[in-house]
């Protein structure tokens, strides 16, 4: 599993029948300590309602199929939790309310995280 930030949402109308109704998010990997984006992004299935800007736990590979909503579906990445906090060295490096303690040099333009976002 790894920690990532939801940076967008992918909409697809032409797709495998087994993916109908599956929410697909764009999740950028982040450093667990600083929240800095790594630049690597993945399309990740979401069944728990994560939204733009949320820091999430993503499971990969066949593990992504071990949830009620993704069983036997062609999915290899799944959001399994929205992160409330990350604790390192006795202090929270991240909290859902306050973000990362060290302000990450976030690569994603603010516009992409607005409610409307940008279509690209």
């Amino acid at each position: 599993m790894n920690i990532g930030r939801v940076v967008g949402r992918a909409v697809s109308t032409q797709k495998d029948d087994k993916l109908v109704g599956t929410t697909l998010l764009l999740v950028e990997d982040v450093d667990a300590a600083t929240g800095a984006g790594t630049g690597d992004v993945a399309v990740v299935a979401d069944t728990i309602g994560a939204g733009a800007g949320d820091v999430v736990l993503v499971t990969h590979g066949s593990a992504a199929r071990f949830s009620a909503a993704t069983r036997d579906r062609p999915v290899d990445a799944l959001v399994v939790g929205i992160v409330d906090s990350v604790r390192m060295g006795g202090a929270d490096t991240f909290s859902r309310r306050g973000g990362f303690a060290t302000a990450p040099p976030h690569r994603t333009p603010a516009k992409a995280r607005s409610a409307r976002g940008r279509r690209m």
Binding site: M1, D31, A32, R65, V79, V80, D84, S85, R87
Partner: protein, 93 residues
């Protein structure tokens, strides 16, 4: 299996129903010199590892063979805490 050091803990909710009550650890993988190597990852922890401890993990399908993790959406599990490492002569550490 990956050799890593526990660097933190993650609290996450709401989780997928299959992961209620599961404990998550942030791990820094270690290289042959026992220093940090590669990006940090998150694993479920069923053995109770503490921050600073060295652990080893089972990945992919093997992670779901960890106690209580059968059929859960888990791809990395801490399956042991390392008490001691002995490096062969010529080892890098």
């Amino acid at each position: 299996m990956l050799l890593a050091e526990v660097t933190g803990l993650v609290v996450a909710a709401p989780k997928a129903g299959e992961l209620e009550g599961v404990r998550f650890a942030v791990l820094q993988p270690l290289g042959a010199d026992l220093r940090a190597r590669g990006a940090q990852v998150v694993a479920i922890d069923t053995v109770g590892a503490a921050e600073g401890q060295r652990v080893f993990t089972a990945a992919a399908g093997s992670a779901r063979l960890a106690s209580g993790m059968r059929d859960r959406p888990v791809d990395l599990a801490v399956v042991g805490i390392v008490d001691e490492i002995t490096l062969a002569p010529g080892g890098r550490a």
